[in-house]
Protein backbone atom coordinates (compact mmCIF):
# COMPACT_ATOMS: atom_id res chain seq x y z
CA UNK A 1 0.00 0.00 0.00
CA UNK A 2 1.39 3.38 -0.98
CA UNK A 3 0.91 5.68 2.01
CA UNK A 4 1.54 8.74 -0.14
CA UNK A 5 -1.69 8.04 -2.00
CA UNK A 6 -3.82 8.36 1.16
CA UNK A 7 -5.40 11.80 1.11
CA UNK A 8 -5.82 13.59 4.41
CA UNK A 9 -8.85 15.84 4.23
CA UNK A 10 -9.15 18.76 6.64
CA UNK A 11 -11.68 16.78 8.63
CA UNK A 12 -9.40 13.77 9.05
CA UNK A 13 -6.59 16.14 10.04
CA UNK A 14 -8.87 17.76 12.62
CA UNK A 15 -9.75 14.36 14.13
CA UNK A 16 -6.10 13.34 14.22
CA UNK A 17 -5.22 16.67 15.85
CA UNK A 18 -7.95 16.06 18.44
CA UNK A 19 -6.59 12.61 19.30
CA UNK A 20 -3.03 13.96 19.60
CA UNK A 21 -4.21 16.92 21.72
CA UNK A 22 -6.25 14.60 23.95
CA UNK A 23 -3.17 12.48 24.66
CA UNK A 24 -0.92 15.53 25.13
CA UNK A 25 -3.53 17.18 27.40
CA UNK A 26 -3.86 14.02 29.48
CA UNK A 27 -0.07 13.78 29.68
CA UNK A 28 0.21 17.38 30.91
CA UNK A 29 -2.56 16.74 33.45
CA UNK A 30 -0.70 13.61 34.60
CA UNK A 31 2.43 15.72 35.23
CA UNK A 32 0.32 17.84 37.61
CA UNK A 33 -0.85 14.77 39.53
CA UNK A 34 -3.98 13.67 37.66
CA UNK A 35 -4.51 10.10 36.51
CA UNK A 36 -3.57 9.90 32.81
CA UNK A 37 -6.22 7.32 31.91
CA UNK A 38 -8.97 9.07 33.86
CA UNK A 39 -8.32 12.38 32.07
CA UNK A 40 -8.26 10.56 28.74
CA UNK A 41 -11.58 8.89 29.60
CA UNK A 42 -13.15 12.28 30.44
CA UNK A 43 -12.02 13.80 27.13
CA UNK A 44 -13.13 10.87 24.96
CA UNK A 45 -16.26 10.36 27.08
CA UNK A 46 -17.39 13.95 26.57
CA UNK A 47 -16.86 13.64 22.82
CA UNK A 48 -18.57 10.24 22.69
CA UNK A 49 -21.70 11.38 24.55
CA UNK A 50 -21.95 15.00 23.55
CA UNK A 51 -20.73 15.05 19.95
CA UNK A 52 -20.24 11.78 18.10
CA UNK A 53 -23.85 10.46 17.78
CA UNK A 54 -25.04 13.76 16.32
CA UNK A 55 -21.94 14.11 14.19
CA UNK A 56 -22.58 10.76 12.51
CA UNK A 57 -26.15 11.82 11.61
CA UNK A 58 -25.01 15.23 10.35
CA UNK A 59 -22.14 13.71 8.35
CA UNK A 60 -24.52 11.21 6.75
CA UNK A 61 -27.44 13.48 5.92
CA UNK A 62 -26.19 17.10 5.82
CA UNK A 63 -23.09 17.07 3.68
CA UNK A 64 -23.30 20.68 2.50
CA UNK A 65 -22.95 22.36 5.91
CA UNK A 66 -19.96 24.46 6.92
CA UNK A 67 -17.98 23.20 9.90
CA UNK A 68 -19.51 25.57 12.47
CA UNK A 69 -23.10 24.56 11.69
CA UNK A 70 -21.99 20.92 11.53
CA UNK A 71 -20.49 21.22 15.01
CA UNK A 72 -23.49 23.09 16.42
CA UNK A 73 -26.05 20.61 15.14
CA UNK A 74 -23.87 17.63 16.10
CA UNK A 75 -23.77 18.72 19.74
CA UNK A 76 -27.50 19.41 19.97
CA UNK A 77 -28.46 16.27 18.10
CA UNK A 78 -26.19 14.13 20.31
CA UNK A 79 -28.15 15.18 23.39
CA UNK A 80 -31.44 14.28 21.68
CA UNK A 81 -30.10 10.93 20.41
CA UNK A 82 -28.51 9.87 23.73
CA UNK A 83 -31.64 10.77 25.72
CA UNK A 84 -34.00 8.93 23.36
CA UNK A 85 -31.73 5.92 22.78
CA UNK A 86 -31.13 5.27 26.49
CA UNK A 87 -34.81 5.77 27.40
CA UNK A 88 -36.01 3.45 24.62
CA UNK A 89 -33.36 0.83 25.41
CA UNK A 90 -34.28 0.80 29.09
CA UNK A 91 -38.05 1.20 29.00
CA UNK A 92 -38.82 -0.81 25.85
CA UNK A 93 -36.03 -3.40 25.65
CA UNK A 94 -35.33 -3.53 29.42
CA UNK A 95 -31.59 -3.04 28.87
CA UNK A 96 -29.97 -1.97 32.18
CA UNK A 97 -28.24 1.41 32.34
CA UNK A 98 -24.54 0.70 32.93
CA UNK A 99 -21.35 2.21 31.46
CA UNK A 100 -20.96 -0.73 29.05
CA UNK A 101 -24.60 -0.79 27.90
CA UNK A 102 -24.61 3.01 27.53
CA UNK A 103 -21.53 2.73 25.34
CA UNK A 104 -23.16 0.01 23.25
CA UNK A 105 -26.53 1.80 23.02
CA UNK A 106 -24.87 4.95 21.65
CA UNK A 107 -22.75 2.81 19.31
CA UNK A 108 -25.91 1.06 18.10
CA UNK A 109 -27.55 4.43 17.41
CA UNK A 110 -24.55 5.41 15.28
CA UNK A 111 -24.52 2.08 13.42
CA UNK A 112 -28.25 2.40 12.70
CA UNK A 113 -27.61 5.89 11.27
CA UNK A 114 -24.85 4.55 9.03
CA UNK A 115 -27.11 1.71 7.87
CA UNK A 116 -29.91 4.19 7.15
CA UNK A 117 -27.48 6.23 5.08
CA UNK A 118 -26.29 3.13 3.23
CA UNK A 119 -29.87 2.04 2.52
CA UNK A 120 -31.03 5.49 1.40
CA UNK A 121 -27.98 5.87 -0.84
CA UNK A 122 -28.25 2.51 -2.54
CA UNK A 123 -32.06 2.40 -2.48
CA UNK A 124 -32.24 -1.42 -2.69
CA UNK A 125 -36.03 -1.27 -2.96
CA UNK A 126 -35.65 0.42 -6.39
CA UNK A 127 -33.58 -2.45 -7.78
CA UNK A 128 -36.08 -4.88 -6.27
CA UNK A 129 -38.88 -3.05 -8.03
CA UNK A 130 -37.04 -3.24 -11.34
CA UNK A 131 -36.41 -6.97 -10.90
CA UNK A 132 -40.06 -7.47 -10.07
CA UNK A 133 -41.11 -5.66 -13.25
Amino acid sequence: MNLKKIKLTNEVKAWLAFVVLAFVGSGVAAIYGANFLEVLRVIFGVVYVLFLPGYVIVRCFFEELDWIERFAVSFGLSIAVVVLAVIIANLVFKIPITPVTNFLIILAAMVITLLAKFVSKNKPWKSLKKKHK
Partner: protein, 470 residues
Protein backbone atom coordinates in the same frame (compact mmCIF):
# COMPACT_ATOMS: atom_id res chain seq x y z
CA UNK B 1 -12.40 27.67 6.79
CA UNK B 2 -13.18 31.36 7.16
CA UNK B 3 -10.77 32.62 9.83
CA UNK B 4 -12.56 35.98 10.04
CA UNK B 5 -15.58 34.19 11.47
CA UNK B 6 -13.80 31.30 13.15
CA UNK B 7 -11.41 33.23 15.41
CA UNK B 8 -14.03 35.59 16.94
CA UNK B 9 -16.46 32.68 17.31
CA UNK B 10 -13.90 30.53 19.12
CA UNK B 11 -13.18 33.50 21.42
CA UNK B 12 -16.90 33.99 22.07
CA UNK B 13 -17.38 30.27 22.83
CA UNK B 14 -14.35 30.23 25.15
CA UNK B 15 -15.67 33.31 26.93
CA UNK B 16 -19.17 31.82 27.37
CA UNK B 17 -17.66 28.54 28.62
CA UNK B 18 -15.24 30.12 31.08
CA UNK B 19 -17.72 32.65 32.48
CA UNK B 20 -20.25 29.90 33.18
CA UNK B 21 -17.63 27.48 34.53
CA UNK B 22 -16.11 30.12 36.83
CA UNK B 23 -19.49 30.55 38.52
CA UNK B 24 -19.76 26.82 39.27
CA UNK B 25 -16.19 25.80 39.95
CA UNK B 26 -15.94 27.73 43.25
CA UNK B 27 -18.24 25.34 45.09
CA UNK B 28 -18.18 22.36 42.73
CA UNK B 29 -21.72 21.55 43.84
CA UNK B 30 -25.14 22.19 42.26
CA UNK B 31 -26.31 25.62 43.38
CA UNK B 32 -30.07 25.34 43.13
CA UNK B 33 -32.56 22.92 44.61
CA UNK B 34 -33.89 22.04 41.13
CA UNK B 35 -30.37 21.08 40.02
CA UNK B 36 -30.07 18.90 43.16
CA UNK B 37 -33.35 17.20 42.25
CA UNK B 38 -31.95 16.30 38.82
CA UNK B 39 -28.67 15.08 40.33
CA UNK B 40 -30.57 12.93 42.86
CA UNK B 41 -32.71 11.48 40.05
CA UNK B 42 -29.60 10.76 37.95
CA UNK B 43 -28.03 9.15 41.00
CA UNK B 44 -31.11 6.95 41.44
CA UNK B 45 -30.79 5.88 37.78
CA UNK B 46 -27.12 4.92 38.16
CA UNK B 47 -27.78 3.06 41.42
CA UNK B 48 -30.86 1.16 40.19
CA UNK B 49 -29.41 0.73 36.67
CA UNK B 50 -32.82 1.61 35.25
CA UNK B 51 -35.23 4.52 34.98
CA UNK B 52 -37.18 4.57 38.26
CA UNK B 53 -40.96 4.73 38.31
CA UNK B 54 -40.90 6.53 41.67
CA UNK B 55 -38.86 9.53 42.73
CA UNK B 56 -36.14 8.99 45.35
CA UNK B 57 -37.41 11.61 47.83
CA UNK B 58 -40.78 10.44 49.11
CA UNK B 59 -40.94 7.34 46.85
CA UNK B 60 -44.18 8.44 45.23
CA UNK B 61 -44.89 8.36 41.47
CA UNK B 62 -42.28 10.16 39.38
CA UNK B 63 -43.97 13.04 37.53
CA UNK B 64 -40.83 14.80 36.30
CA UNK B 65 -39.54 14.39 32.73
CA UNK B 66 -36.57 12.03 32.78
CA UNK B 67 -34.50 13.30 29.83
CA UNK B 68 -32.16 15.45 31.89
CA UNK B 69 -31.32 12.85 34.59
CA UNK B 70 -30.94 10.12 31.96
CA UNK B 71 -28.44 12.28 30.07
CA UNK B 72 -26.60 13.19 33.28
CA UNK B 73 -26.39 9.50 34.24
CA UNK B 74 -25.05 8.50 30.78
CA UNK B 75 -22.61 11.41 30.80
CA UNK B 76 -21.34 10.50 34.27
CA UNK B 77 -20.95 6.80 33.46
CA UNK B 78 -19.14 7.27 30.18
CA UNK B 79 -16.81 10.09 31.25
CA UNK B 80 -16.09 8.59 34.67
CA UNK B 81 -16.85 11.97 36.29
CA UNK B 82 -19.05 11.74 39.37
CA UNK B 83 -22.44 13.46 39.13
CA UNK B 84 -21.32 16.49 41.13
CA UNK B 85 -18.33 17.14 38.87
CA UNK B 86 -20.66 16.62 35.91
CA UNK B 87 -23.03 19.20 37.39
CA UNK B 88 -20.12 21.66 37.49
CA UNK B 89 -18.98 21.01 33.93
CA UNK B 90 -22.27 20.43 32.09
CA UNK B 91 -23.86 23.91 32.49
CA UNK B 92 -20.75 25.47 30.92
CA UNK B 93 -20.74 22.91 28.09
CA UNK B 94 -24.48 23.35 27.47
CA UNK B 95 -24.17 27.13 27.46
CA UNK B 96 -21.41 26.87 24.84
CA UNK B 97 -23.57 24.56 22.73
CA UNK B 98 -26.36 27.12 23.08
CA UNK B 99 -24.04 29.78 21.60
CA UNK B 100 -23.13 27.47 18.70
CA UNK B 101 -26.80 26.71 18.01
CA UNK B 102 -27.69 30.41 18.11
CA UNK B 103 -25.07 30.80 15.37
CA UNK B 104 -26.53 27.90 13.36
CA UNK B 105 -30.17 29.10 13.63
CA UNK B 106 -29.08 32.64 12.73
CA UNK B 107 -27.42 31.29 9.59
CA UNK B 108 -30.73 29.73 8.61
CA UNK B 109 -32.65 32.93 9.36
CA UNK B 110 -30.31 35.64 8.07
CA UNK B 111 -27.81 33.72 5.90
CA UNK B 112 -25.08 36.13 7.02
CA UNK B 113 -21.98 35.06 8.97
CA UNK B 114 -21.42 38.45 10.61
CA UNK B 115 -25.00 38.55 11.91
CA UNK B 116 -24.76 34.96 13.13
CA UNK B 117 -21.50 35.83 14.90
CA UNK B 118 -23.14 38.82 16.60
CA UNK B 119 -26.12 36.68 17.70
CA UNK B 120 -23.77 34.07 19.21
CA UNK B 121 -21.92 36.90 20.96
CA UNK B 122 -25.09 37.84 22.85
CA UNK B 123 -25.62 34.37 24.33
CA UNK B 124 -25.09 35.88 27.82
CA UNK B 125 -28.35 37.78 27.30
CA UNK B 126 -30.15 34.48 27.89
CA UNK B 127 -30.46 35.50 31.51
CA UNK B 128 -30.70 33.10 34.45
CA UNK B 129 -32.98 34.54 37.06
CA UNK B 130 -33.32 32.44 40.15
CA UNK B 131 -37.07 31.77 40.11
CA UNK B 132 -37.17 31.32 36.35
CA UNK B 133 -33.84 29.45 36.34
CA UNK B 134 -32.15 29.42 32.92
CA UNK B 135 -28.94 28.12 31.33
CA UNK B 136 -26.81 28.91 34.37
CA UNK B 137 -28.39 26.02 36.30
CA UNK B 138 -28.30 22.34 35.37
CA UNK B 139 -32.07 22.10 35.11
CA UNK B 140 -34.49 20.80 32.50
CA UNK B 141 -34.97 24.27 30.98
CA UNK B 142 -31.27 24.38 30.11
CA UNK B 143 -31.56 21.15 28.07
CA UNK B 144 -34.89 22.39 26.68
CA UNK B 145 -33.29 25.59 25.36
CA UNK B 146 -30.55 23.63 23.56
CA UNK B 147 -33.04 21.18 22.06
CA UNK B 148 -35.55 23.83 20.99
CA UNK B 149 -32.87 25.71 19.03
CA UNK B 150 -31.96 22.45 17.31
CA UNK B 151 -35.66 21.92 16.62
CA UNK B 152 -35.90 25.43 15.08
CA UNK B 153 -32.91 24.64 12.88
CA UNK B 154 -34.66 21.55 11.49
CA UNK B 155 -37.99 23.36 11.09
CA UNK B 156 -36.33 26.23 9.19
CA UNK B 157 -34.68 23.70 6.87
CA UNK B 158 -37.98 21.78 6.62
CA UNK B 159 -36.34 18.58 7.86
CA UNK B 160 -39.54 17.40 9.48
CA UNK B 161 -38.40 13.87 10.32
CA UNK B 162 -35.47 15.00 12.46
CA UNK B 163 -37.60 17.87 13.80
CA UNK B 164 -40.09 15.27 15.06
CA UNK B 165 -37.26 13.26 16.68
CA UNK B 166 -36.02 16.40 18.42
CA UNK B 167 -39.57 17.28 19.46
CA UNK B 168 -39.95 13.90 21.19
CA UNK B 169 -36.61 14.46 22.94
CA UNK B 170 -37.92 17.86 24.09
CA UNK B 171 -41.11 16.19 25.31
CA UNK B 172 -39.24 13.76 27.56
CA UNK B 173 -36.93 16.52 28.81
CA UNK B 174 -38.94 19.68 29.53
CA UNK B 175 -42.70 20.21 29.35
CA UNK B 176 -42.70 24.02 28.96
CA UNK B 177 -40.16 23.81 26.12
CA UNK B 178 -42.51 21.41 24.36
CA UNK B 179 -45.35 23.95 24.68
CA UNK B 180 -43.03 26.72 23.45
CA UNK B 181 -41.86 24.63 20.48
CA UNK B 182 -45.48 23.85 19.60
CA UNK B 183 -46.51 27.52 19.78
CA UNK B 184 -43.50 28.51 17.65
CA UNK B 185 -44.43 25.85 15.06
CA UNK B 186 -48.10 26.88 14.93
CA UNK B 187 -47.14 30.56 14.47
CA UNK B 188 -44.54 29.72 11.80
CA UNK B 189 -47.08 27.61 9.88
CA UNK B 190 -49.69 30.34 10.26
CA UNK B 191 -47.47 33.10 8.84
CA UNK B 192 -45.84 30.96 6.16
CA UNK B 193 -48.26 30.17 3.36
CA UNK B 194 -45.79 27.80 1.69
CA UNK B 195 -46.12 25.43 4.63
CA UNK B 196 -49.89 25.19 4.57
CA UNK B 197 -49.68 21.95 2.58
CA UNK B 198 -47.76 20.45 5.52
CA UNK B 199 -50.60 20.88 8.01
CA UNK B 200 -50.68 17.12 8.55
CA UNK B 201 -47.28 17.42 10.18
CA UNK B 202 -48.60 20.13 12.50
CA UNK B 203 -51.54 17.92 13.45
CA UNK B 204 -49.12 15.09 14.25
CA UNK B 205 -47.14 17.45 16.47
CA UNK B 206 -50.24 18.42 18.44
CA UNK B 207 -51.28 14.79 18.94
CA UNK B 208 -47.73 13.77 19.83
CA UNK B 209 -47.34 16.56 22.39
CA UNK B 210 -50.63 15.58 24.06
CA UNK B 211 -49.50 11.92 24.20
CA UNK B 212 -46.02 12.79 25.55
CA UNK B 213 -47.39 15.31 28.05
CA UNK B 214 -50.00 12.84 29.31
CA UNK B 215 -47.53 9.96 29.49
CA UNK B 216 -45.08 11.97 31.60
CA UNK B 217 -47.36 14.02 33.81
CA UNK B 218 -50.78 12.42 33.60
CA UNK B 219 -53.78 13.96 31.86
CA UNK B 220 -55.03 15.53 35.10
CA UNK B 221 -52.21 18.07 34.96
CA UNK B 222 -52.90 18.80 31.29
CA UNK B 223 -56.58 19.42 32.06
CA UNK B 224 -55.75 21.66 35.02
CA UNK B 225 -53.38 23.72 32.85
CA UNK B 226 -56.06 24.07 30.16
CA UNK B 227 -58.60 25.06 32.81
CA UNK B 228 -56.23 27.67 34.26
CA UNK B 229 -55.56 28.92 30.73
CA UNK B 230 -59.29 29.48 30.22
CA UNK B 231 -59.88 30.91 33.68
CA UNK B 232 -56.82 33.19 33.76
CA UNK B 233 -55.99 32.34 37.36
CA UNK B 234 -53.78 34.85 39.13
CA UNK B 235 -50.04 34.39 39.43
CA UNK B 236 -47.39 36.59 41.02
CA UNK B 237 -44.78 38.28 38.79
CA UNK B 238 -41.31 36.89 39.39
CA UNK B 239 -39.16 39.25 37.38
CA UNK B 240 -39.19 42.40 35.27
CA UNK B 241 -37.76 41.63 31.85
CA UNK B 242 -37.07 45.29 30.97
CA UNK B 243 -35.20 45.98 34.20
CA UNK B 244 -33.14 42.84 33.82
CA UNK B 245 -32.24 43.46 30.18
CA UNK B 246 -31.24 47.11 30.74
CA UNK B 247 -32.13 50.10 28.57
CA UNK B 248 -29.17 49.70 26.17
CA UNK B 249 -30.06 46.14 25.16
CA UNK B 250 -33.75 47.00 25.13
CA UNK B 251 -33.03 49.77 22.60
CA UNK B 252 -30.95 47.36 20.50
CA UNK B 253 -33.76 44.78 20.68
CA UNK B 254 -36.25 47.38 19.41
CA UNK B 255 -33.86 48.38 16.61
CA UNK B 256 -33.32 44.73 15.69
CA UNK B 257 -37.06 44.11 15.61
CA UNK B 258 -37.59 47.12 13.32
CA UNK B 259 -34.79 46.11 10.94
CA UNK B 260 -35.86 42.47 10.81
CA UNK B 261 -39.43 43.49 9.93
CA UNK B 262 -38.03 45.68 7.14
CA UNK B 263 -35.30 43.47 5.70
CA UNK B 264 -35.57 39.80 6.62
CA UNK B 265 -38.59 37.94 5.21
CA UNK B 266 -37.69 34.53 6.69
CA UNK B 267 -36.93 35.87 10.16
CA UNK B 268 -39.98 38.14 9.94
CA UNK B 269 -42.26 35.14 9.53
CA UNK B 270 -40.57 33.14 12.26
CA UNK B 271 -39.16 35.40 14.98
CA UNK B 272 -41.54 38.36 14.91
CA UNK B 273 -44.85 36.49 15.55
CA UNK B 274 -43.12 34.49 18.27
CA UNK B 275 -41.79 37.65 19.94
CA UNK B 276 -45.28 39.16 19.59
CA UNK B 277 -46.78 36.15 21.35
CA UNK B 278 -44.20 36.35 24.12
CA UNK B 279 -44.88 40.09 24.50
CA UNK B 280 -48.59 39.33 24.92
CA UNK B 281 -47.66 36.64 27.41
CA UNK B 282 -45.55 39.13 29.35
CA UNK B 283 -48.33 41.71 29.28
CA UNK B 284 -50.69 39.20 30.87
CA UNK B 285 -47.94 38.29 33.30
CA UNK B 286 -47.34 41.88 34.36
CA UNK B 287 -51.02 42.41 34.92
CA UNK B 288 -50.89 39.38 37.25
CA UNK B 289 -53.20 37.34 35.19
CA UNK B 290 -52.34 34.16 33.43
CA UNK B 291 -52.21 30.42 33.61
CA UNK B 292 -49.70 29.40 36.22
CA UNK B 293 -47.69 26.28 35.51
CA UNK B 294 -46.65 26.49 31.90
CA UNK B 295 -47.25 30.21 31.67
CA UNK B 296 -44.58 31.51 34.01
CA UNK B 297 -42.08 28.92 32.82
CA UNK B 298 -42.80 29.84 29.22
CA UNK B 299 -41.72 33.45 29.73
CA UNK B 300 -38.08 32.37 30.15
CA UNK B 301 -38.01 31.77 26.41
CA UNK B 302 -38.19 35.51 25.72
CA UNK B 303 -34.54 35.48 26.81
CA UNK B 304 -33.80 32.86 24.15
CA UNK B 305 -35.22 35.17 21.45
CA UNK B 306 -33.41 38.29 22.69
CA UNK B 307 -29.93 37.55 21.19
CA UNK B 308 -31.43 37.25 17.68
CA UNK B 309 -32.80 40.81 17.76
CA UNK B 310 -29.91 42.43 19.63
CA UNK B 311 -27.32 40.58 17.49
CA UNK B 312 -29.08 41.59 14.27
CA UNK B 313 -29.16 45.25 15.36
CA UNK B 314 -25.44 45.25 16.22
CA UNK B 315 -24.51 43.52 12.94
CA UNK B 316 -26.69 46.00 11.01
CA UNK B 317 -25.00 48.98 12.71
CA UNK B 318 -21.58 47.50 11.87
CA UNK B 319 -22.64 46.89 8.25
CA UNK B 320 -23.19 50.65 7.81
CA UNK B 321 -19.40 51.09 7.93
CA UNK B 322 -18.99 49.10 4.69
CA UNK B 323 -15.21 48.51 4.28
CA UNK B 324 -14.67 48.51 8.02
CA UNK B 325 -17.82 46.62 8.91
CA UNK B 326 -15.96 43.55 10.20
CA UNK B 327 -13.65 45.64 12.36
CA UNK B 328 -16.58 47.65 13.76
CA UNK B 329 -18.50 44.45 14.49
CA UNK B 330 -15.57 42.98 16.42
CA UNK B 331 -15.12 46.24 18.34
CA UNK B 332 -18.83 46.42 19.16
CA UNK B 333 -18.73 42.82 20.40
CA UNK B 334 -15.66 43.57 22.52
CA UNK B 335 -17.54 46.48 24.14
CA UNK B 336 -21.04 45.01 24.38
CA UNK B 337 -20.39 41.36 25.26
CA UNK B 338 -18.92 42.16 28.71
CA UNK B 339 -21.98 44.34 29.36
CA UNK B 340 -24.21 41.40 28.46
CA UNK B 341 -22.19 39.13 30.79
CA UNK B 342 -22.54 41.76 33.53
CA UNK B 343 -26.33 41.75 33.05
CA UNK B 344 -26.31 37.95 33.30
CA UNK B 345 -24.17 37.80 36.43
CA UNK B 346 -26.34 40.50 38.02
CA UNK B 347 -29.39 38.38 37.25
CA UNK B 348 -28.02 35.20 38.81
CA UNK B 349 -27.12 36.79 42.17
CA UNK B 350 -27.69 36.01 44.95
CA UNK B 351 -26.56 32.44 44.41
CA UNK B 352 -28.71 29.88 46.11
CA UNK B 353 -26.21 27.49 47.66
CA UNK B 354 -28.20 24.73 49.31
CA UNK B 355 -25.33 22.47 50.26
CA UNK B 356 -22.04 24.05 51.34
CA UNK B 357 -18.69 22.27 51.04
CA UNK B 358 -18.73 21.58 54.80
CA UNK B 359 -22.23 20.08 54.59
CA UNK B 360 -21.11 18.03 51.58
CA UNK B 361 -18.32 16.52 53.67
CA UNK B 362 -20.66 15.93 56.62
CA UNK B 363 -23.41 14.24 54.58
CA UNK B 364 -20.91 12.19 52.54
CA UNK B 365 -19.30 10.71 55.67
CA UNK B 366 -22.56 10.31 57.59
CA UNK B 367 -24.24 8.66 54.58
CA UNK B 368 -21.37 6.18 54.24
CA UNK B 369 -21.50 5.34 57.96
CA UNK B 370 -25.31 5.18 58.18
CA UNK B 371 -26.72 4.39 54.74
CA UNK B 372 -30.46 4.92 54.34
CA UNK B 373 -30.93 6.75 57.65
CA UNK B 374 -33.62 9.48 57.73
CA UNK B 375 -32.32 12.94 58.64
CA UNK B 376 -34.45 16.00 59.30
CA UNK B 377 -32.95 18.99 57.44
CA UNK B 378 -34.06 22.17 55.74
CA UNK B 379 -36.92 21.38 53.32
CA UNK B 380 -34.75 22.38 50.31
CA UNK B 381 -31.48 20.79 51.46
CA UNK B 382 -33.52 17.62 51.81
CA UNK B 383 -33.57 17.15 48.02
CA UNK B 384 -29.80 16.53 48.08
CA UNK B 385 -29.97 13.77 50.70
CA UNK B 386 -30.73 10.78 48.40
CA UNK B 387 -27.42 11.51 46.64
CA UNK B 388 -25.66 10.95 50.00
CA UNK B 389 -27.57 7.68 50.65
CA UNK B 390 -29.69 9.43 53.27
CA UNK B 391 -33.48 9.67 53.49
CA UNK B 392 -35.10 13.11 53.56
CA UNK B 393 -37.97 13.79 55.96
CA UNK B 394 -39.40 17.27 55.39
CA UNK B 395 -39.54 18.19 51.70
CA UNK B 396 -40.52 21.47 50.05
CA UNK B 397 -44.00 20.92 48.57
CA UNK B 398 -43.32 23.15 45.54
CA UNK B 399 -41.14 20.65 43.70
CA UNK B 400 -43.52 18.00 42.46
CA UNK B 401 -43.31 15.71 45.49
CA UNK B 402 -46.65 14.38 46.64
CA UNK B 403 -46.26 13.70 50.33
CA UNK B 404 -43.85 14.75 53.05
CA UNK B 405 -43.79 15.97 56.63
CA UNK B 406 -43.37 19.56 55.50
CA UNK B 407 -46.75 20.70 56.87
CA UNK B 408 -45.93 19.27 60.29
CA UNK B 409 -42.37 20.45 60.79
CA UNK B 410 -41.38 22.80 57.94
CA UNK B 411 -42.48 25.99 59.70
CA UNK B 412 -40.90 24.91 63.03
CA UNK B 413 -37.63 24.33 61.18
CA UNK B 414 -37.69 27.67 59.38
CA UNK B 415 -38.49 29.48 62.65
CA UNK B 416 -35.63 27.61 64.37
CA UNK B 417 -38.07 26.44 67.07
CA UNK B 418 -36.19 23.46 68.55
CA UNK B 419 -38.95 22.49 70.99
CA UNK B 420 -41.43 22.34 68.13
CA UNK B 421 -38.97 20.20 66.09
CA UNK B 422 -38.40 17.94 69.11
CA UNK B 423 -42.15 17.52 69.51
CA UNK B 424 -42.31 16.35 65.89
CA UNK B 425 -39.42 13.89 66.40
CA UNK B 426 -41.12 12.57 69.52
CA UNK B 427 -44.40 12.01 67.68
CA UNK B 428 -42.97 10.43 64.55
CA UNK B 429 -40.03 8.39 65.82
CA UNK B 430 -37.36 9.96 63.57
CA UNK B 431 -34.02 10.35 65.35
CA UNK B 432 -31.49 12.40 63.38
CA UNK B 433 -31.49 16.17 63.01
CA UNK B 434 -29.29 18.66 61.18
CA UNK B 435 -29.91 22.38 61.68
CA UNK B 436 -26.68 23.93 60.37
CA UNK B 437 -25.64 25.46 63.72
CA UNK B 438 -24.50 24.28 67.15
CA UNK B 439 -27.34 23.74 69.58
CA UNK B 440 -27.58 22.80 73.21
CA UNK B 441 -30.51 20.80 74.52
CA UNK B 442 -30.44 17.91 76.98
CA UNK B 443 -32.43 15.69 74.60
CA UNK B 444 -30.23 16.42 71.53
CA UNK B 445 -26.89 14.64 71.52
CA UNK B 446 -24.16 15.49 68.96
CA UNK B 447 -23.71 12.19 67.17
CA UNK B 448 -21.61 12.93 64.11
CA UNK B 449 -19.34 15.90 63.40
CA UNK B 450 -17.37 16.66 60.24
CA UNK B 451 -15.93 19.90 58.89
CA UNK B 452 -17.31 21.78 61.91
CA UNK B 453 -20.92 20.72 61.21
CA UNK B 454 -22.91 18.39 63.44
CA UNK B 455 -25.77 15.92 63.12
CA UNK B 456 -27.72 15.49 66.36
CA UNK B 457 -29.44 12.39 67.71
CA UNK B 458 -32.78 12.87 69.42
CA UNK B 459 -32.98 11.11 72.80
CA UNK B 460 -36.65 10.33 73.11
CA UNK B 461 -36.55 9.07 76.71
CA UNK B 462 -34.84 12.23 78.03
CA UNK B 463 -37.33 14.38 76.11
CA UNK B 464 -40.25 12.45 77.57
CA UNK B 465 -38.82 12.71 81.07
CA UNK B 466 -38.35 16.48 80.75
CA UNK B 467 -41.76 17.14 79.24
CA UNK B 468 -43.51 14.30 81.03
CA UNK B 469 -44.99 12.94 77.80
CA UNK B 470 -45.22 9.53 76.20
Amino acid sequence: MNWKTTIPLVLILSCVFLVNLSQHIASGLPIHVDAWIEVSLADAITKQRSIPSTEPFSHTKLNDPIGNPVFQAAFSELTGLNLLHGATLLPALLNTILALLLYAVSMQLFNNKHTALAVAGFTPLILSQITMLGPFYLVNLCFGMVLVLLYFWFILRQEFGLAMLTFIAIGVTHRSTMVFALIATVLYFLFNKKLWNKLLYLGMMVVLSIIVFGAISGYGLLLSILREFMMFGKSWPYFQYINMLGSLFLALLALGLYLIILNEPKARRFLVPLLGFMALDMFLYWSWRGFFLVYRRLISFIFLLTPFFVGYAVAAVAARFKRYSYLVLVLLLIVLMPLAIKQNIRAITPLQVYITNEEHELFTNFGKANPGVAVLTDHLEAYALPYYNLTPISLSPGHGVNSSFYNEVGLCYMAGDLDCIAGFLNRTGFSYLYVGRNISRAYLKPTYTAAGKTIYWFNKSIYQKIYNTE
